[in-house]
C-alpha cells in the first residue's frame, strides 16, 4: 500500500514539516493500530513485577487487556485476558497471586500458564471438548531483554533483540546501576490521561528544547534548593550542559546529556542534603570498582531519555522512569509510569530516589503537569489543522556530526520511521 506522505522531508532546503492531520484523525489512528501497534514490539511489563510463581498483573497494553503472569514452573507469560468461551475478562484483579483464573460467567477455568483446566458440564459437548485447543490466546510473540518483556502481534516480526538494535546499549547503561545487574519496578504506579495525541508524548519525552520555557518553575526550584544551574556559555546550547541526540535504529533514539541535575546513582546535589553525601560516595565507589572509571562515569554522569519505538520511554535522569502510553482516541492518551531502581538499594537511597523522582516527574511533580499542559494546548490548537496544516520541525536540520538534544533531529527520526511504517512514500 502506498499512501501520500505525512511529512515533508526536504534535505536541500533543510526543512522538515509534519502534517498535523496525523495528530487529529481517527482514520489515521485506525491505521496506526494495525501498522504500528500491530507490528512493533510493545512493552508489557518487567520481570520484577512477578517475583513468585503465581504472581500476576492485569493491564491493558495498546488497548488489549492482558494478564502478565508467572506460572508454577516460573515461566513468564502474556495471556489475552479474554475467555475463550464467550469473551469475558477472566482476571478482574489488578495484581495478586493465583494458580487459576476462573471466568465468573460460566466458570471456565485457566491455569496461570494459560491452559484451559476446567469446563463445568463438559460432557454436554458432542464428542467432548478438546481443552488443549481452548487455552487463553496470547500475542504471536513475547520476548524479553534483560527483564523488560515485550509483546508483538506480528508473528513474522524480527526477534526483540534485533528490533531493539542500538537501544540495547542504553538499556544496559540503566541496568549497570545495579551491582548485581538487576533493576526492579518500585511499588506505586502513576496512571493518568493526557488530552493529546499519543505521539506528542514521544516528542515531549526527548525534546530538550522546551525545558527553559516550559519548566522555568522547576529550574527556580532547583536554584532555591542550592543547585546552581548556569545558563550555557556556548550560545548554540539551550541547556546548561552539552547533550546529544542519538539515532539507535528502527525508529529508536535517545538523548545523551552531561548531567547537571543530580543522580541517585551517583551524583550528589545539595537537594539531597549533606547527610546523603557519604552514601552517594559509596555508591559511586562501587560503580568504579565494578565497571572501571570510564564506564562508571558514563553510568553516573550522563542523563539519557530513551525512546523505544513506538511508545516506551525510559528516562534515566534525576531518577529512572519507565513510561508507556497508548492512544485512547486520536485526541487522548493513557500514560502509565513506574519508578525503577537497583534491587540492592538501601532504605535511605530508595527514599532519595523516589523523592528525586517527584521533584520533576508525575502528575504531582514540579514539571510533568506543565508538560501535560503544553501537550493539551497543542491538541486544542490543532483544531485549526485544516487551515494551518504543518508543524515546523526543521531545527538543527543539515547539521554535520553530533546532533544536539535541543534540536529536532531525534524527533525527525521518529516521524520518518512512523511515516515509513504507515506505508507512506517520503
Amino acid at each position: 500500500m502506498s499512501v501520500r506522505s505525512y511529512i515533508v522531508d526536504d534535505h536541500d532546503k533543510k526543512t522538515f514539516l509534519l502534517d498535523r492531520e496525523v495528530l487529529v484523525s481517527d482514520e489515521i489512528l485506525r491505521q496506526e493500530m494495525a501498522q504500528i501497534f500491530g507490528r512493533c514490539w510493545i512493552y508489557v511489563g518487567h520481570a520484577s513485577e512477578l517475583r513468585k510463581p503465581g504472581d500476576f498483573r492485569s493491564r491493558k497494553v495498546a488497548g488489549r487487556p492482558v494478564i502478565f503472569c508467572r506460572d508454577q514452573a516460573g515461566n513468564i507469560h502474556c495471556l489475552f485476558n479474554t475467555c475463550r468461551h464467550r469473551g469475558a475478562i477472566v482476571c478482574t484483579e489488578r495484581e495478586g497471586n493465583r494458580r487459576r483464573f476462573q471466568c465468573i460467567y460460566h466458570g471456565w477455568t485457566y491455569g496461570n500458564d494459560g491452559r484451559l483446566v476446567g469446563v463445568p458440564g463438559d460432557d454436554a459437548y458432542a464428542g467432548g471438548l478438546d481443552k488443549t485447543a481452548y487455552g487463553l490466546r496470547r500475542p504471536a510473540r513475547f520476548e524479553e531483554y534483560r527483564g523488560f518483556w515485550f509483546m508483538c502481534l506480528d508473528a513474522g516480526a524480527p526477534p526483540l533483540a534485533d528490533y531493539l538494535a542500538g537501544a540495547r546499549d542504553y538499556i544496559d547503561l540503566v541496568i549497570d546501576q545495579s551491582p548485581s545487574g538487576q533493576m526492579e519496578i518500585i511499588s506505586g504506579v502513576q496512571e493518568y490521561d493526557v488530552a493529546a495525541n499519543w505521539k506528542l508524548m514521544v516528542e515531549n519525552s526527548v525534546d530538550d528544547y522546551h525545558l527553559p520555557s516550559t519548566h522555568s518553575t522547576w529550574l527556580n526550584f532547583m536554584a532555591n534548593s542550592g543547585v546552581k544551574i548556569e545558563p550555557p556559555k556556548d550560545k548554540s546550547l539551550v541547556l546548561p550542559t552539552h547533550g546529544k541526540a542519538v539515532e539507535l535504529g528502527n525508529g529508536h533514539f535517545t538523548t545523551d546529556n552531561v548531567n547537571f541535575r543530580g543522580r541517585p546513582v551517583a551524583k550528589w546535589i545539595p537537594l539531597y542534603g549533606d547527610a546523603a553525601k557519604g552514601e552517594i560516595d559509596e555508591i559511586r565507589k562501587e560503580l568504579v570498582v565494578r565497571l572501571g572509571p570510564e564506564r562508571a562515569q558514563r553510568v553516573a554522569d550522563t542523563n539519557r531519555n530513551l525512546v523505544i519505538f513506538p511508545n516506551l520511554v525510559i528516562n534515566d535522569g534525576s531518577s529512572v522512569t519507565v513510561r508507556t502510553f497508548y492512544p485512547e482516541g486520536a485526541g487522548r492518551m493513557h500514560v502509565t509510569a513506574w519508578a525503577l531502581g537497583p534491587v540492592e538499594e538501601g532504605e535511605s537511597a530508595r527514599a532519595r530516589r523516589l523523592d528525586a523522582f517527584l521533584t520533576f516527574y508525575g502528575p504531582g511533580g514540579f514539571a510533568t503537569p506543565d508538560d501535560v499542559e503544553a501537550l493539551e494546548l497543542v491538541q486544542q490548537g490543532l483544531a485549526n489543522w485544516a487551515d494551518d496544516r504543518w508543524s515546523e520541525m526543521s531545527r538543527g536540520m543539515g547539521k554535520e556530526g553530533d546532533q544536539l538534544n535541543s534540536d529536532e533531529h531525534h524527533l525527525r527520526i521518529f516521524w520518518r520511521r512512523w511515516n515509513e511504517l504507515m506505508g507512506a512514500q517520503a
Binding site: Q190, E191, Y192, A195, S216, N224, S225, R350, D370
Partner: protein, 166 residues
C-alpha cells in the same frame, strides 16, 4: 480571666477548621493556608493503586515535607506554572467528618471530600476521596501536622494531574 485550653475536641471545631482550610484553598489564599501548617508539616497523595503505603518505599503522586510544600507554593504562585495559569477554579465539599484519635495535643481526623475542578475549554474534573489530617492543637484552633489525600479513583485517569493543592 484566662480561658483554659479545651481538653475535649468536638467535631464542630474540626469541621470549622476543615471548612476554613477548604475555603482558603478554593480561594487560592495559599499564604494564609501555609500559615496553618506546623513547621514539620507533610502533605501526601499516595498512588491510586497503593493507598496505604509509605512514601519512602512506594512511588507517590505527592510526598512533600515542609520545605517542599513551601517550594510547591512558590511554584504554583508563579505565572510560569503553566498547569495552573490561569488558575483552576475548584470547589470542595467536605462531609462525614470523624475524629479517629486524640493523643496529647494531636488529633487524627478523617473526612470525605469532593473537589470539583474547572478549567477553560475543559470538562469538569471531579476528585473524590478522603482526607486524613493529623492536627495539632494550637490554643483555640489547630495547625496541620500531616495532610493525606486518598483518591478513590482506581487510577488518576481523566483527572490528569494534581497540579494544585488537593
Amino acid at each position: 480571666m484566662t480561658v483554659a485550653t479545651p481538653t475535649v475536641v468536638t467535631r464542630a471545631e474540626i469541621e470549622d477548621f476543615l471548612y476554613h482550610e477548604a475555603a482558603l484553598l478554593d480561594d487560592w489564599k495559599l499564604a494564609a493556608w501555609e500559615a496553618l501548617l506546623t513547621d514539620d508539616a507533610a502533605y501526601y497523595v499516595p498512588p491510586n493503586d497503593h493507598l496505604e503505603s509509605d512514601h519512602r518505599s512506594t512511588l507517590f503522586l505527592v510526598a512533600d515535607d515542609r520545605e517542599r510544600i513551601r517550594q510547591r507554593i512558590i511554584r504554583i504562585n508563579d505565572p510560569n506554572c503553566h498547569a495552573e495559569h490561569p488558575k483552576s477554579r475548584t470547589r470542595r465539599m467536605i462531609s462525614n467528618v470523624r475524629i479517629l484519635a486524640v493523643e496529647g495535643d494531636l488529633v487524627t481526623v478523617a473526612a470525605n471530600f469532593v473537589c470539583y475542578r474547572y478549567r477553560r475549554y475543559e470538562r469538569i474534573r471531579e476528585y473524590v476521596g478522603a482526607y486524613r489530617h493529623v492536627l495539632k492543637r494550637a490554643g483555640d484552633t489547630f495547625r496541620i501536622k500531616e495532610r493525606r489525600v486518598l483518591i478513590d479513583a482506581h487510577e488518576l485517569g481523566s483527572l490528569g494531574s494534581v497540579s494544585f493543592i488537593l
